[in-house]
C-alpha cells in the first residue's frame, strides 16, 4: 500500500522533471544548457527504468538502465567535446 503510493509519487516527480528539462532544452538559450538538459533527461530515464523494475518486482531491466547511463555519459562528453574542439576524436 505504502510502496504503491511512494512509487506513484516517484513516477510523477521523475516525469515532471523530464518535462521541465524538456522546457529548458527547447528554451535554451545557450548550447551548454541544451547539452545539460539532454544529460538530465538521460539520468531521469535511468531512474524511470529503475522505478519500473521496482513496480514490476523484477531485475530484468537492470541492463537497460546501465546501457542508458553509459550512453548518456558518452553522448554528453561527445557533445561537449564537439562544442569545445569542433572535433570529437582528434
Amino acid at each position: 500500500m505504502l510502496m504503491t503510493y511512494a512509487l506513484y509519487i516517484a513516477f510523477g516527480a521523475v516525469a515532471l522533471t523530464m518535462v521541465l528539462s524538456m522546457i529548458r532544452l527547447l528554451r535554451g538559450p545557450y548550447l551548454g544548457d541544451r547539452v545539460l538538459s539532454l544529460d538530465t533527461i538521460s539520468i531521469n530515464a535511468v531512474s524511470l527504468i529503475v522505478l519500473y523494475g521496482i513496480a514490476k518486482e523484477t531485475q530484468m531491466y537492470f541492463e537497460a538502465s546501465l546501457l542508458i547511463a553509459m550512453l548518456g555519459f558518452v553522448s554528453t562528453v561527445a557533445f561537449a567535446r564537439f562544442l569545445l574542439r569542433r572535433d570529437v576524436i582528434e
Partner: protein, 122 residues
Amino acid sequence: MTGTDPIEIIVAILLIIGALFTLVGGYGLVKLQNPMSRLHAPTKAGTLGVGSMLVASMIYAFHHADGSLNELLILVFLFATAPVSANFIAKVHIHRDRVGTPLPELEGEREWATKVKPEDDA
C-alpha cells in the same frame, strides 16, 4: 490497515527522498538565471535522486527475492561520471563566454586553455 513491513517503509522513504531531489533538480534547471547555476542544480540533485532510488531498488530486491548488487554498478558509474560530464559542460560555458562574470586575467602571454580555438594551436 494491516501491519506494514518496516523494510517497505524504508524503501518508500528512500523513493520519496529520491523523487524530491529529482524534482528540485528539474525545478532549478528551469528556474535559475545563470548558466553556471543551472549547471549546479541537476547534476548534484539528479545524481543523489537516482542514487537514492537505486538503493531503494537494491533493498527491495533483497527483501522481496534473492537480491543482487546489480544496481551498485549503475550507482558507482553514475557517481563517477557525473562530475566529469559537469566539468565538460562548464568548460563549454567558459569556451563560449557564457559565464557571466569575466575570467581573471592571466600573467604574460598565456591564455586560458579552454578558450584556445582548434585552429590556433596547429
